[in-house]
């Protein structure tokens, strides 16, 4: 365990992580009785909006199994979205964005194989409920937005195997609780686990064994949000991220392996040919989207958990604009470094790939040199046809010396360097797939397609906001680096309150 001021070892469990931010006085353990029915999420949303401490609801009303809720546990602070993830990974929370990205990428380059522990040593097996003893509604799954279709588990790691190899995918797919033993799971074709289900298991009319590991250790949670290449050992990437092996334990009712430190594990099968309503839901765009759609059904075989488990959740949709939540934070702190590394591995010498500050998943900013004609087109197409296929609609390319973490620099580049005449590409053609979570398609355009994508297609675009040799006043402003550094020192000595905002350079 570390203290709050100088972490140097990664969190081994979700509880460990909460202890870290508690020690840093960034956690709020709320003893008052709070309901899972909108109240916990309302408090969490206001905490997100006000950049306040992370709430732990120690006493949740109306739940048969003693359990606690944690609202948006990984939300970063407004000015430094990566600070809590950094702390979770044993990194100094005051790392600059540049240092954070560099460190995380270095760790991802060095996977650490997991170790398997016996069930008797696994914290997540403290209580085992099977068959008729399983009742999902005995746990305080939160009702998050007043217009949601139901109560959700939306901050877990879904573990699902490839039926044709030893590969197991970790991913994040929310589950709407339907009854004591069923949930509908948001599976959108185009993503790895959904593809396994729709195009392998379901076509073979076989159930897909899955486990939803809730409240796993931070490195495992972060890995689930990344696009790890098919066939790679996700647990090893989590170990690399952590710098220590992740402990896995075999499930009780199937042979999947889950992080042993999990607070709670739902074991079950996603059934071919079965669908139940899922949604509406307040989603990451910052809007409620609808209509309800049919999604595959998870039948629960067992639930194992710690005593008094901590159930994390995300108030989805609250991480837009000026506010952050777990989704928008992990996009910046996890998906960004992972995507940067992935692009470099594919041969693109990008400087950084970072999500747009005010929108978690729809648009990314990539800083890069442009070494040859056609490079940006090639790069955009590569991304759009791989991990950026369904959720991402736009890429904005900026010069390599523009920091994508500096929203102001990106906005200025977009305004002053992107020529409507020549720098906006691929508009107008409705040829590309889209998830139906969006709000710009009508319900008819979205439809209710068997594989989860919208019935209608959309367009994707990339915007060349690089300077193309154009220069502006800003480039010469403020003098050289040494003079600027001297100027900052002068201001600091004078006690001037500076706030550079979200930027990695300060």
């Amino acid at each position: 365990m570390t203290d709050g001021g100088a972490p140097n070892v990664p969190a081994d469990s979700f509880r460990d992580y909460l202890g870290m931010i508690d020690a840093a006085e960034e956690l709020n353990r709320i003893g008052a009785r709070v309901s899972w029915n909108l109240e916990a999420s309302a408090i969490t949303m206001l905490a997100n909006d006000r950049d306040d401490r992370v709430p732990v609801f120690e006493s949740v009303t109306d739940c048969q199994v003693p359990a606690r809720l944690v609202g948006d546990p990984y939300r970063g602070t407004r000015g430094r979205p990566w600070d809590r993830p950094a702390r979770a990974l044993g990194l100094p929370p005051d790392l600059s964005g540049e240092e954070y990205y560099r460190t995380v990428m270095e760790r991802l380059r060095n996977p650490v194989a997991p170790v398997e522990v016996d069930a008797t040593d696994a914290a997540c097996k403290a209580v085992i409920r099977r068959g008729a003893d399983v009742d999902l509604f005995s746990f305080p799954w939160p009702y998050i937005h007043a217009a949601d279709g139901g109560r959700y588990s939306n901050l877990h790691t879904m573990v699902a195997p490839d039926p044709d190899s030893s590969w197991t995918d970790w991913s994040a797919h929310r589950a709407m609780i339907q009854d004591g033993a069923r949930a509908s799971v948001l599976l959108l074709a185009g993503e790895q686990t959904p593809n396994l289900f729709y195009y392998r298991y379901e076509r073979r009319e076989e159930p897909m064994p899955v486990a939803l590991a809730v409240g796993v250790e931070p490195a495992a949670q972060f890995t689930a949000s990344m696009w790890i290449p098919t066939g790679s050992d996700e647990a090893a990437f989590a170990g690399g991220l952590k710098g220590d092996p992740v402990e896995l334990v075999e499930c009780t009712t199937n042979d999947l392996k889950v992080p042993a430190s999990a607070e709670l594990v739902i074991e079950g099968r996603i059934i071919p040919g079965e669908r139940l309503d899922e949604g509406p839901f307040g989603d990451y765009f910052g809007y409620m989207h609808g209509p309800r759609r049919s999604m595959p059904v998870l039948r629960v075989d067992a639930v194992t958990h710690r005593e008094d488990p901590l159930i994390p959740f995300c108030v989805e949709g609250s991480g837009v604009g000026y506010s952050l939540n777990t989704t928008s934070t992990t996009e910046v702190a996890c998906t960004g470094p992972d995507a940067t590394l992935g692009l470099r591995a594919a041969g693109y010498d990008v400087e950084k790939c970072v999500p747009w500050r005010f929108t978690p998943r729809s648009v990314y900013v990539v800083s890069t040199d442009v070494p040859r004609p056609g490079y940006l087109h090639e790069l955009a197409n590569f991304i759009f046809t791989t991990w950026g296929m369904l959720h991402v609609d736009f890429f904005v390319f900026v010069d390599a010396d523009v920091d994508p973490l500096s929203t102001r620099d990106v906005v200025e580049a977009l305004a002053l360097h992107a020529d409507p005449d020549s720098d906006f590409h691929q508009f107008g053609a409705e040829t590309m797939p889209k998830v139906p979570l969006n709000i710009y398609q009508t319900p008819e355009e979205k439809g209710d397609v068997e594989t989860g994508t919208s019935k209608s297609k959309t367009a994707k675009a990339y915007i060349d906001a690089t300077s193309n040799g154009e220069s502006g006043v800003s480039e010469s402003a403020g003098g050289d680096g040494a003079l600027r550094e001297r100027a900052r020192s002068v201001l600091d000595r004078a006690g001037v309150d500076r706030d550079p905002g979200v930027t990695s350079g300060e």
């Binding site: 353990r29 999420s41 309302a42 000026y322 360097h417 001037v496």
Partner: protein, 505 residues
């Protein structure tokens, strides 16, 4: 009368002015310090020791960016400068500027400027900004005899008197106030950039440059030369924002409370701004992108200063520098006023050329009156201003200057295939962007991030906000119990989308 010192006192009272007592030389460090302060969203900075006679102030008309929630707003200093209040809502600032365009009464004359102490221009310590290696003037107001300003006909006739007749030197109609940017060369040489109509001023004509004017005069001089000509004269606009007293000089009346008054004589033939070696040193001020400019050369006749003069300046080129703010608010107000007085109704809830975007994007939150109105609105804005070639149309539910929401909606609400609209490539080049500086034509574009008025109500996705997502009894209970629940941050930390419709807390 609200002079610069009053404005600075207000900033001080609002903890929006910091003082640097350490020596920061005017020749290099002063502008760098002000630039870093602007870049890092710091308060305005008063530079007490610059190796010159004047105290310099950077950021007096600047402000932080709106890309995060901060205790100060980008327009707070403008609101303070205009007397609307440091805590004024954005729309209050716009409304004040819109109202002033019609002008007020004539400014009151006084016998002489407050600046009475003779001084040497070189010893003032005017800051070298950007790549300039000489002193520069960045937030100046020039008084030019009215007869010398225009299409040059009077000047060409040779009948123009060199100075305003003595009995007219406090007549606001006998003078034109123009924004001026310039540099000092040698002991008494000036190169000045002024709006083109003032560039026809012939050799021998008197011109007066006022630095550290009452803020209203600076805003008035800028507003007068932006866009259409159906606005009052700059002194009258200033008086509507002020009031502002005026005092006589040979070139005509100047704001009486100005900190520095430089009387000069045009010394060379008017030169085109396209002649590089005649241009003032240092980077152009943003207003020079908005209006056609010309260069004047002049010789200084006399410099007078107030006791312990204070000279505001813009660290031009730094993000969030004063000049961008000045142009942002004045141009935003102009366009806001125009689109709301064009169709017989006032559809625009708010409008902004964010400083953060270098004035290259215009955001407008508007009622979409009918299908296709978005096109009409965007293209009206393109026809009213040549600064930008990108317009984002937002719904009125996006609170004023909530850039976080605006720059979310642009990506998630607008259909990438259908709602990003480009004109044919024959539109005139916009002036704020860095591309097509040769004036080549190109496309304008607008993003329609407003709901399609043809959509059924059921298609409209509600926003996820605290207000919209939770029942009133839960909201009230959560807010009431917030401190008891153990949280630290209060309503002041709310993002703007939870603030009132007027943008105030």
């Amino acid at each position: 009368m609200s002079d610069l010192r009053t404005h600075l006192d207000r900033l001080d009272a609002a903890s929006d002015l910091a003082t640097v007592n350490e020596r920061v030389h005017w020749a290099d460090t002063a502008a760098a310090v002000a630039g870093e302060a602007a870049r890092t969203n710091a308060p305005a900075v008063r530079l007490a020791d610059t190796g010159g006679r004047a105290t310099l102030v950077g950021g007096a008309f600047g402000g932080p960016d709106r890309l995060s929630v901060r205790s100060r707003e980008p327009w707070s200093r403008t609101g303070s400068a205009l007397g609307v209040g440091h805590d004024a809502a954005y729309l209050d600032v716009l409304d004040a500027l819109v109202a002033a365009r019609r002008g007020g009464s004539d400014p009151e004359p006084v016998d002489h400027p407050v600046a009475t102490t003779d001084a040497d221009l070189r010893t003032l310590g005017l800051p070298a900004v950007g790549d300039a290696d000489v002193p520069t003037l960045t937030l100046g107001v020039a008084a030019v005899p009215a007869a010398a300003v225009g299409d040059g006909a009077a000047a060409a006739s040779g009948s123009l008197p060199a100075a305003v007749p003595e009995d007219s030197r406090t007549d606001p109609g006998a003078v034109r106030w123009v924004p001026v940017r310039g540099s000092v060369h040698g002991s008494d040489g000036l190169r000045l950039s002024v709006p083109a109509p003032a560039g026809s001023t012939p050799e021998g004509t008197r011109v007066t440059i006022a630095l550290g004017t009452p803020p209203a005069a600076l805003f008035g001089a800028t507003m007068r030369w932006l866009g259409e000509s159906q606005v009052a004269g700059a002194p009258s606009i200033a008086d509507a924002l002020g009031p502002v007293d005026i005092a006589p000089t040979p070139a005509g009346a100047v704001p009486a409370a100005s900190e520095v008054v430089i009387e000069a004589t045009v010394s060379g033939a008017p030169a085109s701004v396209s002649t590089p070696d005649r241009r003032p040193s240092g980077p152009p001020s943003p207003w020079e992108r908005a209006v056609a400019t010309a260069t004047l050369r002049a010789r200084v006749n006399r410099v007078r200063v107030r006791e312990d003069p204070v000279v505001p300046f813009a660290p031009t080129g730094a993000p969030m520098a004063d000049g961008r703010h000045l142009l942002s608010t004045t141009e935003s107000a102009r366009l806001y006023g125009r689109v709301n007085n064009y169709w017989g109704v006032a559809p625009a809830e708010w409008l902004a050329l964010p400083v953060e975007a270098g004035l290259g994007i215009c955001l407008v939150a508007s009622d979409v009156l009918y299908a296709g109105f978005e096109w009409q609105l965007a293209n009206t804005l393109f026809s009213f201003s040549r600064l930008f070639d990108k317009v984002v149309i937002l719904d009125t539910e996006t609170p004023p200057m909530d850039l976080g929401r605006a720059f979310d909606d642009v990506w998630v609400k607008a259909h990438p295939a259908n709602d990003w609209e480009f004109s044919d490539p024959e539109a005139p080049a916009a002036r704020a962007p860095h591309y097509r500086r040769d004036g080549a034509t190109g496309s304008n574009m607008y993003v329609d991030a407003a709901w399609d008025p043809r959509w059924d109500e059921e298609y409209i996705a509600p926003r996820v906000t605290f207000e919209a997502t939770y029942p009133e009894e839960i909201r009230e209970a959560v807010r009431a119990d917030w401190s008891e629940l153990g949280f630290d941050h209060g309503p002041g930390d709310d993002p703007t989308h939870d603030r009132g419709a007027d943008g105030s807390a």
